[in-house]
């Protein structure tokens, strides 16, 4: 092997635990704000909009996770 140090370094990283992806506080705040704004914008269609907003937010969150 020509570069054993590189091999060892790659093997070390490969064997180390993978970082867990977490949502940042900013992302969570943005989703919450968007959800609240949507609910207040159209009180007449409150129930339907709540369901829609929850579905959209959930799918976005799943995508991020």
């Amino acid at each position: 092997m020509l570069l054993p140090e590189l091999h060892d370094e790659l093997a070390r990283v490969a064997a180390s635990p993978r970082p867990v992806r977490r949502l940042s506080g900013l992302t969570v705040s943005a989703f919450t704000a968007a959800l609240v704004a949507l609910l207040f914008a159209a009180p007449a269609a409150h129930a339907q909009l709540t369901e829609l907003a929850v579905n959209v937010a959930s799918s976005h969150l799943r995508g991020l996770l």
């Binding site: 590189l6 790659l10 490969a14």
Partner: protein
Amino acid sequence: MPRADLVSDAELLHDHGTQFGDFYARHERRLLAYLVRRTGRGEVAADLSAEVFAAALAACRRGAPIPDVPVAWLFAIANHKLADGVRRARVEDNARRKLQMRALELTRGQVSEIEGLYGESEVDSLVRGLSADQRQAVLAYVVDECAYSDIAAGLQCSESVVRKRVSRGLARLRLRLEEAR
């Protein structure tokens, strides 16, 4: 667990690249030979090679789909990094920084050894990628056309061991050639 030299590249990259060290060992020489032919400098080839392997490992760790022919993917990354290097007039280290890898410190001997790969053919690289036992047996049987009994006498082992080494060595070369196509 099966022997590393008997499993395919794709299998080595499964499970988020936990066996990436074996993948590196298998392709180090070929990639370095390719990069030194393209750049003409051992240090640059080593630097680029480290970045290419780091980028491949990072992709495995984030769960990117493993391509059917990982070695072709590796060389595609190398071409991309080469083009980036030419455009920016320096070798990137983004992937290595993301993985928090230590910087590579090369000795003069390593640089000259890498530069010695300049004239090495693809077949040379593949044969050198075999284990020492297999390489010795394959070269004696195929290139020197020695009989199994003569090789066994020279290596002080049984004929069946030599047959097994030749057979496994050739099988491994065949697999590598198919992957390289």
